[in-house]
């Protein structure tokens, strides 16, 4: 359904659909989900975890017999994408955690995705096999070679159906190009190249070439003592294959045009909001650090996430964002504690819905927030097992910031900061969202009438 387009948030009621993952009280570290991504049609949903595994879910065909089950997502393929490695030169472990997954648009029967850990990007091909050849001349049924002298007649092997098998094979491995930790990968609209960004550099790759990449951004200072800023996220423009943006730990966004020079050290546009001097504290810089940047589907806007807000920028206006949304401003007076327990360094992501009318991002206590750009309404929802009855409507949550706490509200001091929603995804054309809550994946859909 095209409910996603132009729908106002007050008309949308979000319902629980599915949850994937164990209910065990203890969380195995390897099971912690580290990235979530729908493919371009929304038919597939991929997750990556700290253990280096990728799990792909496929939406089942909607059945006329069961219209209320609107295409559930079931496991389609599971594979180990990255293994832990040891860097002998530095005597350091390289984590196998999957930092990002990005799908390529589908061009034939197979599906392709990029997955990356801190150092290495891999291109995976996921394909189905539902037939197998039978009746070989030189091999018998068990695969053993037959003696050619014993063959008296020839036959043509035929393809016979078999149980569906989904195989994932690594087609390319793009390694040894990043000294620092990769935080982003982005497929270009030309579908021939992609970029990978680490803390200080961005490299451009051709999918066919694994032993070479072009360095297009390098902000490493000659003297590392002078390092005060790092790259935090990067993305290609959805339509213009020469344009990309990258964000920094100082709250700035640079838009670069690859046509101007080989090394895009000089930006074409520089987006920064002037600091409010009356709001300055020792934590101002840390909370201004951008943790995620995303182009709108239209390509006209970019959205950035910093610790307390989500901002929407118009590409034609560099001096300030056109919209700012407060995610959890009640944390502003708690920054010292959040600095002490390192929560202030949590990197939240943000996503657009298919029509660019609603944006979503995560918070603590397994809360996530949606902002309707047209009506300026916002809602706080929770991903929890308590709200996990089939098709149960999610009740909006509210954080009490002082004064009397109403019955259903939760006070700031009661929030669980270990339950953080860092990764979410929105179906490209429908109101279906995937929310990663530590080791569980929740899928919510809008209510079917």
């Amino acid at each position: 359904s095209l409910a996603g387009f132009g729908s106002l948030m007050q008309d949308v009621l979000w319902c629980f659909s599915q949850v994937k993952g164990t209910i065990d009280i203890g969380v195995t570290e390897a099971d912690i989900i580290s990235t979530v991504e729908f493919n371009h049609t929304g038919e597939l949903l991929a997750t990556g975890d700290k253990g280096g595994r990728v799990v792909i879910f496929q939406r089942e065909q909607e059945s006329k017999n069961q219209p209320h089950r609107r295409g559930e997502y079931n496991v389609y393929s599971t594979f180990q994408s990255h293994e832990p490695e040891f860097d002998y030169l530095k005597s350091l472990e390289i984590e196998e955690k999957i930092n990002k997954i990005r799908w390529l648009p589908q061009q034939n029967a197979a599906y392709f995705l990029l997955s990356t850990n801190d150092k290495t990007v891999k291109l995976w091909k996921v394909s189905e096999r539902d037939k197998r050849p039978e009746g070989y001349n030189l091999k018998d049924e068990d695969g053993r070679l037959r003696d050619p002298s014993m063959i008296t007649m020839l036959r043509v092997p035929v393809l016979r159906p078999m149980d569906l098998m989904v195989e994932a094979t690594p087609r390319r491995v793009f390694a040894n190009a990043h000294t620092y930790h990769i935080n982003s990968i982005s497929v270009n609209s030309d579908y021939e190249t992609y970029m990978s960004a680490d803390d200080l550099r961005i490299n451009l790759w051709n999918f066919e070439i694994t032993n070479q990449s072009f360095n297009i951004v390098d902000i490493k200072p000659a003297n590392m003592e002078e390092l005060t800023e790092v790259i935090t996220a990067a993305e290609f423009h959805p339509h213009h294959c020469n344009t990309f943006v990258y964000s920094s730990s100082k709250g700035t966004i640079r838009l670069c045009d690859m046509r101007t020079s080989a090394l895009c050290d000089r930006h074409a546009k520089f987006f920064e909001e002037p600091e409010d001097p009356s709001n300055r504290s020792f934590f101002s810089e840390i909370i201004s650090s951008i943790s995620d940047v995303k182009f709108s589907h239209s390509g006209r806007y970019i959205m950035t996430r910093d610790y307390l807000t989500v901002k929407v920028w118009d590409l034609n206006m560099e001096n300030r964002p056109i919209e700012t949304y407060q995610v959890h401003d009640y944390l502003r007076s708690k920054l010292c504690s959040l600095y002490e327990n390192d929560c202030i360094f949590d990197k939240f992501e943000c996503v657009w819905n298919g029509s660019d009318s609603v944006i979503m991002t995560g918070s603590y206590n397994n809360f996530f927030r949606m902002f309707d750009r047209n009506t300026k309404r916002d809602v706080t929802l929770e991903a929890s097992r308590e709200n996990s009855k089939p098709r149960a409507i999610l009740k909006p949550r509210k954080v009490c910031v002082g004064g009397k706490r109403r019955k259903d509200e939760i006070s700031v001091d009661s929030l669980d900061f270990s339950k953080k929603i860092l990764h979410t995804a929105w179906h490209p054309s429908e109101n279906i969202i995937a929310v990663a809550a530590t080791n569980n994946l929740y899928i919510f859909q809008d209510k079917v009438n």
Binding site: H181, M224, N279, F282, S333, D342
Partner: protein, 249 residues
């Protein structure tokens, strides 16, 4: 839970120090909280080195915070007072709520005191003669955190350099004790920064000089004045206590 409405005190005489000390037992002052934040940040920078590989973004943000604090402390002359305050105080006081720091400068406006530079300069010059026995020279501006950074980013072998790091931390705090803020920069001036350059390491050029540098750090001479030694040690004990708290939490 958090302290509100506390005016920042200006340290320009003994009287104020005593008043502040009395006040400290009840409510931590802005300066104490700021010091606590500085200590916490330095510990964080050290701790992140013991892990697998430091998160560079986090390290950069913490180091920038350290620099901000040190700049402010240098400007209002409180850098000199670290030594005087530290004796006789439980380290936990330093880590009490730093809510004041969370408030914007607008909220602190009424309590903010215009720093007087004359006192600062006089003490600074006085300290230079004291420190002449150590290998520290005058620096032009507050660049303290920069060399701290070079050590922070580029440590390629946390296990091997753990010993060196503890030494570096000692030196950092010794230097802070010695009332000479600019000397932190010189702390690492003898260390060849190219040693820590990852790119250089990758080409294997520095493999031979590595051992020599380890030796160099181990033989770094400690401060000669007994006063600063004892303060240094008490501060180190407090630091251990702080680390314990942070690790256990």
């Amino acid at each position: 839970m958090f302290v509100r409405g506390l005016k920042r005190k200006c340290f320009d005489g003994e009287e104020d120090i005593e008043g502040t000390l009395a006040g400290i037992k009840a409510i931590p002052s802005y300066n104490l909280q700021r010091q606590s934040l500085l200590d916490m940040s330095l510990v964080k920078l050290q701790l992140c080195h013991m892990l697998v590989e430091p998160n560079l973004c986090r390290s950069v943000l913490i180091a920038n915070t350290v620099r901000q604090i040190q700049e402010e402390m240098t400007q209002d002359g409180t850098w000199q007072m670290i030594n005087t305050q530290s004796t006789g105080q439980a380290s936990l006081d330093r880590l009490v709520s730093t809510d004041i720091l969370c408030r914007s400068s607008r909220e602190q406006a009424e309590g903010k005191h215009v720093p007087s530079y004359s006192t600062f300069n006089k003490d600074f010059e006085g300290d230079q003669t004291q420190d002449s026995s150590e290998t520290m020279s005058t620096a032009s501006s507050v660049q303290a955190p920069r060399n701290l950074q070079s050590n922070v980013w580029e440590m390629e072998n946390p296990q091997e350099n753990k010993g060196n790091f503890q030494k570096s931390l000692d030196q950092i705090f010794e230097t802070l004790e010695n009332k000479s803020p600019n000397s932190v920069e010189d702390l690492f001036s003898e260390v060849d920064n190219s040693y820590y350059d990852l790119d250089t390491m990758l080409t294997g050029m520095m493999s031979n000089t590595k051992m020599a540098h380890c030796d160099g750090l181990e033989t770094f001479s400690s401060p000669t004045t007994p006063t600063s030694n004892s303060n240094c040690k008490s501060d180190l004990n407090e630091l251990d206590h702080i680390v314990e708290i942070l690790v256990e939490s």
